[in-house]
């Protein structure tokens, strides 16, 4: 890892830890912010956090691996999480799987080459009466149909272009 990346991480960890205080009970919020900022949590970040809070890196690592929303590898800018639990499944989840894979040219578990989208499954997200449903980062979308999915993807592609 480059020196400048390390510095950036260290600085970010310092800022976040200052915000929450150096107490163990804020470990999860600290990791959540790092995850949001860098899209994943690497070993260097784990070390920096464990130093700051004075707990073993193995403990921090254990927490990172436990929660499915904390990533151990880099993810796309937008993480699409499609619900695969039974009510969404019955409402036609498979159709949505096919559209997503086809439009993005990747399979579930993968990230697009431009780093924009990652495709993942998730379990029930509490939209069971309006399935199929999915999350895109922190937004929820329900009653999905193929056309709607394409519109949603376009929206994020455009947003990303504008912000770039």
């Amino acid at each position: 890892m480059f020196e400048c990346q390390r510095n950036e991480i260290q600085q970010e960890v310092n800022t976040i830890v200052r915000k929450y205080g150096r107490t163990r009970n804020y470990l999860l919020p600290i990791l959540q912010e790092l995850n949001r900022k860098f899209s994943y949590i690497n070993n260097y970040m784990i070390e920096a956090v464990s130093n700051a809070l004075d707990i073993s890196p193995a403990e921090v690592h254990g927490v990172v691996t436990f929660y499915s929303f904390l990533n151990e590898t880099p993810k796309g800018k937008y993480i699409i999480r499609l619900c695969k639990t039974i009510s969404c499944d019955m409402a036609g989840k498979d159709r949505i799987v096919r559209v997503l894979e086809k439009e993005l040219g990747i399979s579930f578990g993968e990230t697009t080459k431009d780093g924009l989208f990652s495709l993942e499954y998730t379990n029930c997200i509490g939209m069971c009466s309006e399935g199929p449903a999915m999350l895109v980062n922190e937004e929820v979308y329900s009653k999905l149909c193929p056309e709607k999915v394409v519109d949603i993807l376009e929206f994020y592609k455009n947003g990303a272009r504008k912000r770039a």
């Binding site: 804020y26 999860l28 039974i86 009510s87």
Partner: protein, 389 residues
């Protein structure tokens, strides 16, 4: 009889009336009123709310905590999302009343990561309640302070279990642990802590404002009050419904316009799957599991496919801490896949049923104890379809 349209949460309510009434009583009287109401936890386990408060109230500690469990993750459940979105004031008022009753000044809402989009609305409600003196310092001019903080989960179903949730708040892996000590003795930061489901908290202001007697005129002798049901699957009008406990499956199905129903999963993935012969049984603490998740399957659905979906869910969500659950769910899933291929002998299926029963008694927490429920009930109730068709 059970279809009398009695509502509580979706009925009338005057903001602040529950809290105002509570602050006129002694903390002990508040606990007693909740005890008398016989309100039981709406998260699924059904522990009597008043008893929980009492055991926390008698603890001597410099700090105590009220935690609202908003980690709704049971497949097929979405009523807490609706409450968090449309009735956050009732939740917060319930938390403050609970805080007053047990002597806590700090509340935490543990909101599942999937619901992060609800956070802003809840924060706005907190600010508004502070501005109107329903939260914060010297609430309604009395000597009682209470503030609420929101913390986010990060995608782990097991954190809905109260100890896993506390561990998560303590900055650890969300792994359940053996009890005692109970959270009411040693919970968040090792202090006495009351963890209460979103829906349970919402009933509290009504109980204090209108009295335990009034609350008990709803529901059955053993299951007082109403309950929110989240209904999805093969029905005409899916959604959240408030009905009295004791309603039968058939009455629910009629209410939501379900036709050609073959099976109903009552109580979510960890609940049980019933066939037509059980449609007249009541849903209550003394009947079918009253967790509130109802998933309806019509005759076009394959029950093995349903079961495979549930078992995949448990394999993924088991925290892996104890063997019966970690290994058992995996074996049950494998068995379902063998059945699907037509490669499972009846003798092996009997072994799996035996394993499922062992899991029910030997797993450490509710997840592993309940995950065999769909397996056992689907195999037993749909044997002909599964084995001989």
């Amino acid at each position: 009889m059970k279809n009398s349209k009695k509502r509580i949460l979706f009925g009338e309510y005057i903001v602040g009336s529950g809290l105002a009434a509570a602050l006129k009583l002694k903390p002990k009287e508040v606990v007693n009123e909740v005890k008398k109401s016989e309100l039981r936890g709406r998260g699924g386990a059904g522990f009597p709310t008043g008893l929980k408060w009492e055991s926390a109230a008698v603890q001597k500690a410099d700090q105590k905590f009220i935690i609202c469990n908003a980690d709704e993750g049971e497949p097929g459940t979405f009523k807490d999302r609706l409450l968090l979105m449309e009735h956050p004031g009732k939740i917060l008022e319930g938390m403050a009343i609970a805080g007053y009753a047990i002597g806590a000044h700090h509340g935490i809402i543990y909101l599942r990561g999937e619901y992060v989009y609800l956070k802003k609305g809840i924060e706005e409600r907190i600010d508004h309640m502070k501005a109107t003196n329903l939260l914060g310092d010297k609430i309604l001019g009395k000597r009682f302070n209470f503030d609420v903080e929101i913390r986010l989960g990060a995608g782990a179903y097991v954190c809905g279990e109260e100890f896993a949730l506390i561990e998560s708040l303590n900055g650890r892996r969300g792994e359940p642990r053996n009890k005692p000590p109970f959270p009411t003795e040693k919970g968040y930061l090792d202090k006495p802590t009351v963890v209460q489901n979103v829906e349970t908290l919402c009933y509290v202001p009504y109980i204090i404002a209108n009295g335990a007697e009034w609350f008990r005129t709803h529901g059955t002798m053993k299951s007082t009050g109403t309950k929110l049901f989240s209904i999805s699957g093969d029905v005409e009008n899916p959604g959240v419904y408030e009905v009295e406990l004791g309603i039968t499956v058939r009455e629910l199905l009629e209410m939501v316009g379900a036709k050609d129903t073959k099976a109903v999963q009552v109580g979510g993935a960890s609940g049980i799957c019933v066939s037509e012969k059980d449609f007249d049984k009541p849903i209550a603490f003394e009947g079918l599991p009253p967790g509130g998740s109802i998933i309806v399957f019509n005759h076009s659905r394959k029950m093995l496919h349903v079961l495979e979906n549930f078992m995949e869910f448990f394999v993924e969500e088991s925290c892996g801490q104890c063997t019966p659950c970690r290994e058992g769910n995996y074996r049950l899933l494998e068995g379902v896949r063998l059945l699907k291929k037509g490669d499972c002998t009846v003798a092996y299926l009997r072994d799996l049923m035996e394993l499922a029963r062992v899991m029910q008694i030997s797993s450490k927490c509710g997840l592993g104890q309940m995950s065999p429920n769909p397996f056992i009930s689907i195999i037993e109730n749909f044997k002909d379809e599964i084995l001989y068709s």
